[in-house]
Symmetry: D2
Subunit: 417 residues, 4 copies
């Protein structure tokens, strides 16, 4: 294996490790590790809730998930010679669950979880229809995932990091805080909130302490959203073999990553929505000097996906348009039309015996595809969601004979406030 | 070939044909043709502007495109025995440009066009950045498309009908008119408009005449948006071999179709955005009695794509988030994030020598993929657009050497008001 | 459509057409049509037996198939400027069954056939196990094929020309006749024969007549085998979008083609083994001057397959080794190991209720893949054959529950001597 | 990770490990480990030459490779309840190089090798053209392989076990020895030999000792060829996610495996031809009682490949026919036609600057595909070999401009007798 430059011990919390990572974005979080262009190295990643979610049949831990503490990230890694204006070329050489640990209490030890957040603590893509918290545990067998909470489904995971990115410059950070603050100010009491402002509570900032910790904690950006530096893009296609080009905003680039997913559907619609886990990631880094300007890549990462995704050849697809459930016509709202497409898929799956929550979990965790199919046909956008039929034990296609019924089993654990 | 039940003569306008189709949705447009469950039949389709767009180097025809007259549709086809509540199963057996006609003045005779509408006459997905009208002509060679207006690009088309659907019931039509009217009322003078109300001008309603024509023309829905009946979904994956399940709202289903595309990228982002053409489509129909309730498919069509799409294995992908070009933070706006991803792709292509308009045309016409990658990471959604690198003559991947320059040639014709 | 340079009338035999093609290889068969590099043109092709096989339920026509008259080829086409030593670049732009003719007595009019030749008249890959003649009729619906003789199977055809090639030089022809004659001489009375010598009976040589006809007929090579000029390669991957590079041996290249197949499995194992049909093919030609030497392509064509093959993602595969059915060990015989793999697949399918002949037909006509998996592990080679499970109505995978039984229906017609 | 039931220490030879495996097939080799149906377990596998091949620039070790000692296999594994007549269902859950060991002297520690055997010691598929020994070292970076001996090529490996199988019954073993002995007897002095008889020298038989060792060593079959029990099939598609169904010939099935390959082309044509390595394999086993008869699987394994193979969409293919290099016509010899296709590919690659040996190495190690394209067109069979163009740094397609030249670098080490 490549040299392990950021080790984690599964039995210890994130802040008790040999090297302390971070859970905020700030240019002044020190890089504990330096790598060179051309290096290949291994990084351990902690599951994003630092072990707060358990392999059991209760959703209380999801309901009470410590959102202030996410995402626990490995890094930053200083890349020798990287300068603002460069592109950092990152190859995802390999990645997977925690190596050599097949069982244990930590997600990534042979299992992972998908959660639906309650509206009061995070919410989700379909939070109006699913206001409570739910959890599903998935067991790994090689690259296959199955769940005792969602019977009749098994699929090949497409392992990827949900979050990876470079550190922002002070100026860029300031821009983030200004624009997100302005949004929050339009409705500061909204539940779930419109955005997450800097928050000292639960902040982890590497080796920073004292006044410097306090200063940085008061400024540092939360890690929930994707931004110009990449960040929490949750792109399921960041699989093994992928090459990503990140803008560099600070000397050394200060690359960080975490939030590994065993599998995810496009959109990560349940919010805690992939199959979350800890694990390892092997990376190779290089630099294109001045690449941001040369290629016009200054605001968001570009990437080339790997070529070993699981192959499925038959899909059942659902469409949605930008009309609300209440019948209100919205103008070209692709977010809404994807919600409607997903709700149609969920309704359909319930006809086969799945509970709505089980169906929602499938859409969040399995390798479904979400497409922006039509974005101009006023007033309706058209989004579509594609389910690979081969992941189901039963025949999912419509027929004169009607739907085969599955046994939903114990269902997915639920917890409400 | 299957029996031709709806013939068109390329040399005559839509209203002078043996059978007159329609360009509005209404339950009372008579079905001129009846087919039975189990039948396979051929339908000719007129290009959506009825020949108003020419194979030349001016974009005036796009600027002045007669939007009131679209889409000229073939049908309705009455399917014997189909009843409200059923699912109509439609197989796209085959389709293509106008058979046996390889050259001529009509799109579909060996060529097609992609247009970017001007803001004053239709607009497009990126109309703020591209307020004028543009046109590109594409030549067909088998399933390959190339354009004298967009050099250095060739791709395998994924031929599909942009529009297909069943007739609405009177009640459903009333719902459409009410909800779209309410939206229009919020800003009735907007350019481009928020939605398109019923319009007697340029209406074509099959064999209807006189008072009945006037009544129906005053109520009938425009065909631009996709709705519960399918309609103008513009889903590029409706390729040969696809099976679609449509809700049935009226006796006989009254299926109609048109707006054939030689190729299209996800979103059809230039609005007139696929490679538009006339041609033929072979269909097979069947019925699942009571299927709407049995499968919970009452609001939008579901479908299973065909398995002969062109295969590409290397993609260059661009991401975007829901921050406006002016730096304003929007809340989980996937429409905006896809706009930003597309703009990033356009910026990137200009580094290789393409004009912005040429790049925009490529995104509209080539088999690009648009994904809803992250829809929950407040406040930013993350959308991604994937370009198959093999469609470019040059190497499109970033490198230390910098971008190879193409010769943009004559560029795409432009026309402004 | 491209200009039709070689028309055929479905109602007339091959020798009564406007232009007469040929069924032998010889440099002195005149080219009735000339095309230029850069041209795209359409060619009609006659089904290889010139209409001798009927859409009925008897295999007598297969038993008595007029083998002396095959393959009826379209051409030769003289390509302006092509010289010996060049590579002729041929793009398969499009192809399909007889255009606009969906029903009728000629294969290609909405249907095709697969035959198993009897040992006394041609034989097949498994002629020891299947000594009689059999026939299956396949019906086309778009790109899908089904057969009343082989129920429970449907698949997407991968249409391709079984035969295409350039004319041999006099020297090359002489080489062919010498080496094949030497082989025949080792066992001249074998049934089926080892090879087919020149034969004047049933020879068709374009416009040649009289003494010249007699001379050429006495020298011309039969079209059954593939050779240095391409010829009857029966490569199922010569689909739409394919580019082939042929060696040029005579001025003008003299390209000919025919033997269109609606679908075929690797190997075309039943001999009359694809789904045979007449139809059309659109070609584009170009030249790489001196390319034979430049690229070392002097003995056999090279090619780049198209990218629209039907996609299947689940396969059931069978292996075979080079041990005869009698238990005799042969040394690294990949021909034998593929026979054994095919026989294993046939045995397996009979467990589901198919007759051996039906199973054999499936392997011949469906898009199965045949691989040379191991060719060095003395003394056994290992060949494998892959069946796409999605083409079967039933679940074909082994399970504790045992095989589901299909209803074999009327079976495949048989005829013996 | 699954329970490790067969551990290996990379620093010790095969016979000094905690559990001793075997390198011969015999029913009386004791099973040191027992597993149950439904179990998932991890097995370490030694590279097939037990460390005799080094990561250096000499091919002497390939020339002198200790062929008598291969293949060092892990097992046998006794599966509780498996009985003769059953089918053993083996899932390849995961596999890869030696875990957590990225560098070191043993193949599998971050690197692997491909060898071409000399004619006097093993030979290869093209031994007449390549009579000497050659070696190429490949470096692993995640799933990618590159070689200092073969520049300009990199590819995604498709990791698989070259060898896996069940123990033969005494009767079956006797059949093997009889039929292979009969073949050897036809030319006992041939170099390379026709087959390999039982050989006590270098035999490893698990825990057997003394007279029992001597008896079994005198009877046990060599592991080189694939046979009815699976064995050394060298099927490159036995990738992660594959399910294999093996016939069971003895109580407990006695499953063994080894000969892991990081990558291989169809045929493993250089004999030592894949990228050879040690590593791990995770397996899941189950039983279909009586499945051999139920499904007619008694002579050779059947299997369903996994769905995560690397995807390539552009291929350059070469064809060959059954005519020898000396111009002799052979009758439908697919082994020969594949040799000719491979030689054509090698000739072609040399036009770009590769040495013939480098080209041969690429065909042996990269994920090329070998197809039995035509097997009935007397007297020539047609085999084809497909190279994925994306694995080459240069453009490999023929053009008027002629081939780009690579720098062949130091070339592949060579060693002759």
């Amino acid at each position: 294996m490549p040299e392990l430059v950021f080790p984690l011990d599964s039995s210890k919390p994130f802040t008790d490790q040999q090297i302390t990572g971070h859970n905020r974005w700030h240019p002044d979080i020190p890089a504990p590790v330096t790598v060179k262009p051309g290096d290949t190295f291994r990084v351990h990643c902690r599951e994003w809730f630092d072990g707060a979610i358990h392999n059991d049949d209760s959703a209380d831990d999801i309901r009470d998930a410590p959102l202030n503490g996410v995402h626990v990230l490995s890094g930053p890694f200083h890349v020798t010679g990287a300068k603002p204006g460069d592109l950092l070329v990152v190859d995802i050489v390999d990645l997977g669950p925690i190596p050599q640990e097949d069982s244990g209490p930590l997600a990534g030890q042979g299992w992972g979880y998908t959660g639906i957040f309650a509206t009061q603590n995070g919410g989700s893509f379909l939070t109006e229809q699913f206001p409570d918290a739910y959890k599903a545990i998935w067991d790994f067998r090689g690259q296959q995932a199955t769940s005792r909470h969602v019977p009749g489904v098994s699929f090949t995971g497409i392992v990827h990091p949900g979050l990876m990115g470079t550190a922002p410059s002070a100026k860029l950070l300031s821009t983030w805080n200004a624009r997100e603050g302005a949004l929050i100010a339009t409705n500061p009491d909204r539940v779930p909130p419109l955005a997450l402002p800097p928050l000292a509570d639960s902040a982890i900032l590497g080796s920073l302490t004292g006044d410097e910790f306090d200063r940085v904690a008061g400024e540092a950006a939360r890690t929930a959203p994707p931004r110009e530096n990449g960040g929490n893009q949750d792109i399921k296609n960041f699989t093994k073999g992928t090459r990503v080009f990140y803008p560099v905003f600070v000397d050394g680039a200060n690359l960080s990553m975490g939030d590994l997913h065993f599998s995810q559907g496009d959109g990560e619609i349940t919010f805690c929505g992939a199959i979350e886990m800890g694990g390892f990631i092997d990376l190779h880094v290089d630099i294109i000097p001045g690449g941001m300007d040369t290629y016009g890549v200054s605001e968001n990462a570009i990437f080339m996906p790997g070529n070993t995704d699981p192959q499925y050849s038959q899909w059942l697809a659902f469409s949605g348009t930008s009309v609300t459930l209440d019948g209100e016509q919205r103008y070209l709202d692709s977010h809404l039309s994807y919600q409607r497409a997903c709700l149609h898929a969920i309704d359909y799956l319930t006809k086969f015996g799945y509970s709505p929550e089980q169906a929602y979990m499938i859409l969040g965790a399995a390798p479904i595809e979400g497409r922006l199919s039509g974005v101009v046909d006023i007033p309706n956008s058209c989004s579509t969601v594609y389910l690979p039929t081969a992941i189901f034990d039963i025949d999912l296609t419509p027929s004169v004979g009607g739907p085969t019924q599955i046994n939903p089993g114990i269902g997915v654990p639920r917890s409400s406030f």
